[in-house]
Symmetry: none
Subunit: 209 residues, 4 copies
DNA sequence: TATGAATGAGTATTCATTCAT
DNA sequence: CATGAATGAATACTCATTCAT
């Protein structure tokens, strides 16, 4: 109880920020296992022991960073939940809001992507599960509203619809963050808004009443 | 570096297979950077020097393995290119064939997934580009056929359509390989066939004439 | 170094006790070199700097603890010096009193045992010498009395007799504190009293007139 | 199976000896936990990785050294088991043979002493148990012979007698190896033979018929 | 051609100690 | 007078790569 988490929060906020920024960058560049605390402290110009004082160990540092990020991840969705408008315009806004989040926190999103298929991140199951459930809950609510208002074509399987929306959102964001991934597939670079609009149109045709 | 690759191919085929299988497993389990040649040779019971004789260095070993895999990746698509049937049934068959490929080569696909967002794989850009282009070419041809036969609704942007198909296929496969990824989103476990059918139906509504 | 020891003794006695108990436990568990001031202060919930204020450094802490213990070690012997009774019953009482001391201060005795053959304890020579000399003096006095009263068989070398008594006492105590040490040698577990009686009988035969 | 124990035994014998000698010295000087592989390899002038190649880890190195030592420990006793002569002269020979062993392997004996009261040696229970049981078996056989031939006074408890002999032997050896331990108790330095003779005499009086 | 011994820089983590607040 | 942040050297251990046999 004595030494660990408390000590970091007693630091001047500016120093806290420097440490977290540098560490986040390291994890974004190298994932968890290959991230090097040596490199972090060298760049920061602080003693190696300090990091362990602050966070206990490497996993503690990662968990500190990513648990804050998980909270942030959920943020943009909440903002839209209460939005007015028809189903598909709310979907489009979700795309845009999530894209804006990624633009604001590119390092965090790179960590998330690395975590997706790399098993050795601490608390990976918990973190990914939280994010998934938040999205599922949010998208499920949107779908329920749309079913009630008759905006979706009848006979749609609710679970499959949520899964499809999630799929589209996820891939939209991946593509936004790592455009090279679609080099050769979608060669024409588009703005965030253009792409969001196009995918919404597709969804409207596929799902709309 | 002179007779490098040659020496490996002079080995009895059975030994070649053992080496490649064990190395593939290591990369699938740990990615590139964290894969350990020490562990590989320990499991194989061969000398460490041999691996370096065969492949030059760690990157050479990986490239040997994954360049063969890239060729395999393209295989299932070619098989369907000449298939008869309407557009959407050919799409559904693509889903099924790709899913079958993953079931047959789970380790290769795990490596591919890790490579997707992890920058430090050797020749990553080249490998991913090859796979992407193969898919784009294949899907593009399918779309062109469908446009010609009027199976797609008019006014569809070809590139965006290809992108959407690719998105659906990719996510379908990820979900097939790592089902836990959708725990909480698509809780009802489905067979490969059921899921392929459902996604095809969705595409038919979204894209069909 | 000025007011060093003083500051500790100004503490409320209860806090002094907590600090010393926890530190003694750490030294008993880990010896000197591997004892960790980090762990001690973590368990105590006090600042690390305080320990250094109180005792100067790690050696100072150990010396404070063990110099008090040395005084205690000598205690039980003094109590018997003035006892009446024949030589061998006084010996037996010494065994019992020393065993009782160990039961009352098990941590101190564990430190003593570790110090016996581990050279890197601070002031080791001094501490061990003090204890040895106290025992030698005490046992020597007993032997002198017995020689005078004719209780010992004639011709016994005084020094060797003292050495033998010391040997028996020491090993008796070690065995009492670490019974597993004699697993397989003396498998029948005995009470302190039984063992003291048996060893006294042996000594009576070996040394008695 | 590939890398570990085999590699060390392939080394030229001279190098094996240098490594073991230096490592044994380190353990004798510092015990297990405080022994430093850094120091060992620095003195040897070899790479740190080599030691881990040879023995796997620090515990493996220690176990290699001490398991050989345990075998050696038992050696001198076996040599005497078949000796002729009366009980007490065989005991005296045991003292002398064990003392000679310690003189020949002082480092090993110092490790043994440190292990006696320091819990964190690898395989400690096993090693100490083996040594104890060997001694108990040997001394028990001597006692049984003496009981059969009537050399011991009647009514002696066999177990207690073995325990006493073990006690005397152990302490005799400790005193021989670490004479300073008895500074102030037995100030007159004696030869090994003198001391063995004196202790045997004592035992003869205490135990003899 | 295969072997496996040698290397040395790299990893996370712990530690006693200092000193500004 | 107490605090606890900072330090940097120390620890065991792993790794890809080289090269003499």
């Amino acid at each position: 109880m004595a030494g660990t988490r408390q000590t970091f929060e007693n630091l001047p906020e500016e120093k806290q920020d420097r440490v977290l920024t540098e560490a986040t960058r390291e994890f974004a560049d190298h994932g968890y296992q290959d991230a090097s605390i040596n490199r972090i402290v060298d760049r920061l110009g602080i003693a190696k022991g300090s990091v362990f004082k602050y966070f206990g160990n490497k996993a503690g540092l990662f968990e500190h960073i990513f648990s804050r990020a998980v909270a942030d991840f959920k943020g943009p969705l909440k903002a839209i939940r209460d939005t007015d408008g028809d189903f598909f315009s709310r979907i489009e806004q979700s795309f845009l809001a999530s894209g804006a989040f990624i633009d604001a926190h590119p390092l965090i999103y790179r960590i998330y992507l690395k975590m997706l298929f790399n098993e050795n991140f601490p608390l990976r199951e918990r973190f990914l599960g939280e994010i998934r459930r938040a999205h599922a809950k949010y998208l499920g609510a949107l779908v329920d509203d749309a079913v009630a208002s008759g905006e979706l074509r009848p006979g749609l399987d609710r679970e499959m619809t949520v899964f499809l929306l999630h799929t589209m959102l996820d891939r939209f964001l991946q593509n936004h963050a790592v455009p090279s991934q679609d080099a050769g597939i979608d060669p024409a670079p588009r703005t965030l808004a253009e792409r969001a609009r196009a995918m919404t149109e597709f969804l409207r045709h596929g799902l709309g009443a």
